[in-house]
Each structure stands twice: as C-alpha cells, then as structure tokens.
C-alpha cells in the first residue's frame, strides 16, 4: 500500500485551557482531494493549523510523506511543499494582488506558464493585478488566497473553508478551479461546511466531531448514505441541494 501524503496519529492539541483535538487520527492519500467535514467547533480548523505547525500538538504525530513534521517550524513545512489557505480570505490586504502573488512565489518570479494557468482558473486576478488586495470583493479575495497557494507547484495543499460566505456563482468558479487543480500532482485537504461543494469534489472524506475523527471513507459512500450524513453531520442532503 503506498505511503499516504499525510498521516495524523493520536494528535492532541490544547489551546489555553481548552483541549481541542483529542487523539485525531486519519490519513490523506496521495493525489486526491480529501474533505474534512464536521459541525462548527468540531476542531477542523485547529486540525489544519496543527498540521501546518501554527499550533503545536501536545501529543501524537503528524507525518508528511512519511517524515515526522510534528515539531517542524511552519516555514520549514512550507519549504517542504505544504501550502495553507487560511479561512476568512487570508490575504495581505495592504499589498497589491501582484505583491501577494510574488510573496508566495518563493523560488523567484513566477513562471509565465504557471501564472497564465492561475489566471485561467481565476480571471479576475489578471484584471485586478495591480489593485490593493484589501479592495477586492470577498470572492476575489478568496480566489487570491487560493491562487497564492498554487502559484508554485505544491505537494500538499491545505484549504480552510474556501466557499465560506461566497455567492453561488463564485462557489461554482471555485469548484471548477479545484477540479482543474485535482488534475495536477497536488494532494488537497479541504475543510468545508458546504456539503454540495464537498460531494462535487471529494475523493475521500474524514468527519470530525468534538475533537475526534468519527468517520473516514470514500466521499461517494457518504454522499450516497443519507442516514450516515444525518448521524455524522446532522444534515439532510435535500437541505443542501
């Protein structure tokens, strides 16, 4: 069995007096798109931030391509090819779109072909190339956040709620962009609340509840089992279509 791109084992994370992650364990297979689902407050964002080293795991291990990265500083992890798109349009509002993109291109000025590919995914960014990122609309900011993460080829992309607060048309654009992204070598882990988005894109899924993983499997299986959705996520598919 091939080694997974990402493997978490018994991960515990505490923030102040709160014990958020309580033995999180799951794997993200190479190449595909894995959805991390769960109710609000289940610990999904904490999980991504722990993987990225922004919060330290107090116990357990995080492995990226077999390498233990639990104690690795965040910049080192980024240099290994792990990119992180934070929730709430995590861009640098005081810099221009161009500057945001250049900042993420660590290996030097971005390759023209790659830049054209990114513009193909998010055409609005070409139009607002020299505009202040803080002046973009919510959807454009989210596009910039994702575009910034993929301006260079990445091994693993961690994305936190890419559709949060976006209009349906922008969500459709985002789904197309992720479909295109899935055709590359990049492995993607997406935290999402939008079940339709999750079923449209996810190959595999992990569901969190109260700081633990309560289900892992194929996304198609979860999408087909309404009872399981009700039990795990407390939702009915009809309400989200």
């Amino acid at each position: 069995m091939p080694e997974p791109m990402l493997a978490l084992s018994g991960v515990n994370t505490r923030i102040g007096q709160y014990h958020i992650l309580q033995g999180v364990a799951f794997e993200v297979p190479r190449g595909g798109l894995t959805m991390l689902l769960g109710r609000n407050g289940a610990g999904k964002t904490t999980c991504l931030r722990t993987i990225m080293g922004l919060w330290r795991a107090s116990a357990g291990s995080v492995r990226v391509e077999g390498r233990d990265t639990t104690r690795l500083p965040t910049p080192e992890l980024a240099r290994l090819g792990v990119a992180y798109v934070p929730e709430n349009m995590g861009i640098f509002a005081g810099l221009t779109v161009r500057e945001n993109m250049l900042l993420a291109a660590r290996a030097g000025p971005p390759d023209e072909k790659r830049l054209e590919w990114v513009f193909g995914l998010f055409p609005a960014l070409r139009k607002f190339w020299n505009a202040l990122a803080g002046n973009l609309s919510g959807g454009q900011k989210q596009m910039l956040a994702v575009a910034r993460a993929i301006i260079e080829p990445r091994r693993l992309l961690l994305v936190d709620e890419p559709t949060k607060g976006l209009a349906p048309a922008i969500v459709a654009n985002m789904i197309e962009a992720f479909r295109e992204l899935k055709r590359t070598d990049t492995t993607i882990l997406v935290v999402e609340q939008n079940f339709q988005f999750a079923t449209s894109l996810g190959d595999s899924v992990a569901v969190m509840d109260s700081g633990r993983i309560v289900h892992t499997g194929a996304m198609a299986d979860l999408a087909a089992d309404e009872g399981l959705q009700q039990r795990l996520l407390g939702l009915s598919l009809d309400a989200h279509q």
């Binding site: 922004l54 500083p73 910049p75 509002a93 005081g94 500057e99 250049l102 900042l103 660590r106």
Partner: protein, 353 residues
C-alpha cells in the same frame, strides 16, 4: 531615472510630490537660499532627522516593531565618531575607524537584542528595548573618562571641514564656500543617499516580506518565511541607519553628548515624526521630520511675533508668549493626529492625484 532612484515607489500624489520636491530643493540650496548659521543648522538637523525617522519607520511602519532603543543606536553613532576623534585625533582615519566601530557595535547589539527578544510579544520587546536604552544612557553618563559623562565630548574635525577653511577664494552667489558648507553638503549628501537606500530596501522583495509580517505574522510563516530572521535583519538595518544618522549629527555638531543623541525626548520626537508624516510610507519621515524640526526651531519666533501683534488684547499675548511654545507644539500634534489619522502622506495619497 527618477523612477529608478525612487525604487519604483513614486509619491502617488501631486501635492505630496510638490512637498517632497520643496524639501529636497530647500535642503539642496539651503546654504544659498537661507544664509546664516542658524538656518544652516536647522537644514542639517532636518537632513539628519529625516534619515533617523526613516530608519525608525523601517521598524515601526514596515515591520511593526515597536522599539524604544532607536536613540541608543543614534547615540552609538555619535559616540563612535566623538570618542575616536577625541582619542585619536581629528584625521579622516580616526573618523573612519570610529564610524566602523560604531556600525559594528550597533549591528552586534541590534542582532543580539533582536534574536533574543523578537520572539516575544511586541509589548515585551518594547519594554526590553526601553531597558537596554536606559542602561546605555546611564553607561554613557557614568563612564565619563571615555564619554565625557553628562558634559559629552567636543572634538575637532579634519581641517577641510572647519569653518575657517575657505574652499573658494571668492564668494559664490554671495556665500563664502567654507568648511562648514562642505560639512553641510557631506551631511545632506549622505542622508539623501542613505534615505534612497532605505527606500530601495522597503520596495524590494525583502520589504514586501516585512509588510506581510507586519500584517499577519502567521500567514507570512505559512508562506515559508522565518519571521524572526526577517525581523532581526530589519532591526539590524534600522539600527545601522540610525547609527549613520548619529555619525552625521556628531559630524555636524562637532560634539556628542547624552542630551543630543541618547535622550528619551529624542525617541519621542522621532516617534511623533513618523506618526505625523505617516507610518509605512518613508516619504512620511521626510515630511514629519521637516515639520517637526521647523516647528521646534521657529515656533518660538512665530509666537513672539504673534504675541507682539496681539499686544493690548486680553489673554492672547500671554497665551502666545514664546515660553508657551511647547504647549502650542502639543496642540499642533494633536491637530495633526486628529485630521491625519494615517499621517500626512496617508491623507495626501488618499486624495490623489
């Protein structure tokens, strides 16, 4: 050419461009346009404080580092040249050795303070720098055998820079070109060159990372930037520029002492210059320092004129008495901060062109 000199960071507003040009031309022609020892002294102080404020803006405005040790580095520059000239004579060699020693000392202290303290929260870093600056000020006062104590150090410069040296026999545009004018142009030229270097730094990829760190340190780390390293390098660069400002100030005054370089009042002054001019703009340092130094130098004279003009009116002459200049300086700053919350440059750029 001009765009390249300004590191592709044009003023972005005609009014701002005109103001900056007025400051530049005023300083470049100061010996001819504003003759007299006092006005030349004000012009030299403007040039030095523009550099000092710009170096502080690199920390505060571009990196989000609140340091109270900036005057310490300014003082190290002043004492470097002062101690060298007082101990080893007034030759160029001793000035160069003193300058290099001061720069090395500043870089080492800034590196140590940065590496040890920039991991902690901003408020703790500010407190640490305050303690280090106070320690250095006490050290300079106590080690009187080396620093001259509270009296400071008077020293001589190479003869070509002394006021008695005539560079050209006949007056040029009615002005005697002597060593003092040469000293002024040395100070002005170095300050201008170093300001352009700072402008280049903040507009480089390194400067972009600093802005990102200021805005969100975690996001910058997630992009792969070791923020402590960048903040430490910025701290060292700011310290080196402040040391150069100290060197130039001592060169101009031919004196260095705790009151002129290490005082906490100067720290407050440069903080005000940066805030009034506009943080994170570099050009803000130019306008902030110019307005501040001019107000500090001429407000008393203006108040004297106003007081005389309102003679006979109840209360006003007393309120406008020259001794109340600090009160009016305070009012001026409150008005500036109230009407220009993003600094003068921020306001001018907001209403471009």
């Amino acid at each position: 050419m001009i765009r390249s000199l300004l590191s592709a960071d044009p003023p972005g507003s005609r009014l701002l461009a005109a103001s900056l040009l007025a400051v530049l031309v005023g300083l470049a022609l100061a010996p001819f346009v504003f003759p007299g020892a006092r006005s030349l002294d004000v012009a030299a102080r403007v040039a030095v404080f523009v550099l000092l404020a710009a170096s502080y803006d690199l920390l505060l405005g571009y990196t989000g580092i609140v340091s109270f040790a900036h005057t310490m580095f300014f003082g190290i520059g002043g004492y470097g040249i002062g101690i060298a000239a007082a101990s080893w004579g007034s030759g160029w060699g001793s000035l160069a050795a003193g300058s290099l020693a001061a720069l090395a000392c500043s870089a080492a202290i800034a590196f140590a303070v940065g590496l040890l303290s920039l991991r902690v929260r901003a408020i703790f870093f500010a407190m640490i720098t305050l303690a280090v600056a106070a320690f250095f000020q006490i050290l300079a006062s106590q080690m009187s055998w080396l620093t001259g104590g509270e009296d400071g150090l008077n020293f001589n410069l190479p003869s070509v820079l002394s006021p008695g040296t005539k560079l050209v026999a006949a007056p040029v545009l009615g002005i005697d070109l002597n060593g003092r004018v040469l000293s002024y142009y040395l100070v002005f030229g170095c300050a201008l060159a170093l300001f352009l270097v700072l402008l280049r730094i903040v507009n480089s990829p390194f400067g972009r990372v600093l802005l990102a760190i200021r805005e969100n340190e975690f996001r910058a780390e997630a992009l792969g930037y070791r923020t402590v390293v960048y903040r430490t390098v910025a701290n060292c660069l700011g310290a080196l520029a402040a040391t150069c400002a100290g060197l130039l100030y001592a060169l101009w005054l031919r004196y260095t002492g705790p009151a002129t370089t290490l005082s906490f009042d100067i720290m407050i002054d440069i903080l005000l210059m940066v805030v009034i001019g506009g943080m994170g703009t570099m050009y803000g340092a130019v306008l902030g320092a110019t307005i501040f130094v001019l107000a500090e130098s001429y407000l008393r004279d203006l108040l004297r004129l106003a007081s005389d003009a309102t003679h006979g009116v109840p209360l006003l002459p007393a309120l406008l008495h020259p001794d109340r200049w600090l009160l009016w300086l305070g009012v001026l700053f409150v008005v500036c901060v109230y009407y220009f919350p993003h600094g003068i440059v921020g306001r001018l750029r907001a209403r471009r062109p």
